[in-house]
Symmetry: C2
Subunit: 236 residues, 2 copies
């Protein structure tokens, strides 16, 4: 039975981390909210499920509904060889994903530092200040951490965990894609200082299934409704 992915149909957003894992796995899935009536189905499930997700994305596998991106990837990683089989390796991969999730939330808050219920235009002054801090302190801190992890991987594979690709490599690829879209000037500088992250980003882009996905209509282009938005005034 195909997985059912539920996420907003017009943005990459947090759903994209799940899409990339499903695509790399070659898994059969339906992106439900992109089908006719799909958003209504998604909203009904959030309202009525015994285990209601707080927000999209969520994944349905038979009777199991899983919300929260990191939990979805924990689930898919174990099923599709996208995470180490040993418990310690699985936990380490999960820990990296949770740190990526923190980074993604901070990237989101650069354009929404006051509240998700308000428009960007109503918090633009605050967004300018928050983005300056994000560019100066947070992007380097997170990228340095990823660079260190790749460097300390004892297999020297160029991946974050172990000798083969895991879901966190796909997620880090997506974060780099997002930074290059939203903060092109800052991100290019930061990636020069993070050669291992940069090389991993390129290696993921060249994987046959990922490349095919990125060139397909299934890949929604970045836009100014998602997490990574190009507002030139917020780049440095």
């Amino acid at each position: 039975m195909a997985y059912e992915l539920y996420y907003w149909p017009t943005i990459q957003g947090r759903g994209e981390f799940v899409r990339l894992a499903l695509e790399e796995a070659g898994a059969d899935y339906i992106d439900v909210a992109r089908e006719a009536e799909g958003i209504a189905v998604m909203m009904r499930m959030m309202d009525h499920a015994e285990h209601p997700p707080f927000a999209p994305p969520f994944l349905k596998d038979g009777e199991t509904i899983i919300g929260q991106t990191a939990a979805i990837l924990l689930y898919l990683g174990a099923r599709h060889d996208l995470a180490p089989k040993d418990p310690a390796g699985g936990l380490w991969t999960n820990q990296i994903q949770l740190t990526i999730a923190d980074f993604v939330s901070e990237a989101h808050d650069t354009h929404h530092p006051i509240g998700v219920e308000l428009y960007y235009e109503d918090q633009k002054e605050e967004a300018l200040r928050r983005s300056a801090e994000f560019r100066k302190s947070r992007i380097p801190k997170f990228l340095d951490w990823f660079e260190t992890i790749i460097a300390r991987n004892p297999t020297d594979s160029g991946y974050l965990v172990g000798g083969t690709l895991t879901y966190v490599d796909l997620s880090l690829f997506q974060v780099v894609e997002g930074l290059l879209y939203a903060f092109p000037k800052t991100a290019k500088r930061a990636l020069k200082a993070s050669p291992k992250v940069s090389a991993l980003h390129e290696a993921v882009a060249e994987r046959p299934r990922i490349r095919a996905y990125l060139e397909s209509p299934r890949r929604i282009p970045f836009n100014e409704e998602g997490i990574f938005r190009r507002y030139p005034e917020l780049d440095g």
Copy 2:
């Protein structure tokens, strides 16, 4: 061998979610950074570990180091009967914890909406705006979700998951404690509209091990260096 918990020694912060689980489990643990030289040990581990945590808290169990609160609780929950044994139940518990983590991050950002590197006093205007949004939109939205989950728990136990206490009940207790400290007026009103969450908070406080912990010197009082800070101007 005792667990080693690594976290800032003067605040509850995110470490408190781990402390509560260890205390309820009756687990043997050392709160390393509260011992002499403990902070230096913590910083060295963050700098040099093969799996360096991005930030405290992290837990050391023998040779395994686990960072990220939700990952630590996933690990402890399985070992100390603080989570369901079945995979679907374990994932659901993890998903709730991840949503609690999102709520905690938003609570933190009420006093740090611009950047963690800046003082509160340097982002006070923005904090006033963000807190107003948090009080108006976010506290009710999160508490409603927890209320719904308790109501839909088919065992009708009053807990979030299944018929017995799990680590997310402890974490929700801590969030309610934090809201009552940081936003006393708002939190009291919100809890009146969330009777099941309120009852769960009281039930957790009365558990023998939790009560003994809360009355012990191991429980650090709330203060204005942690996640939940009492700045009266931010309450409504």
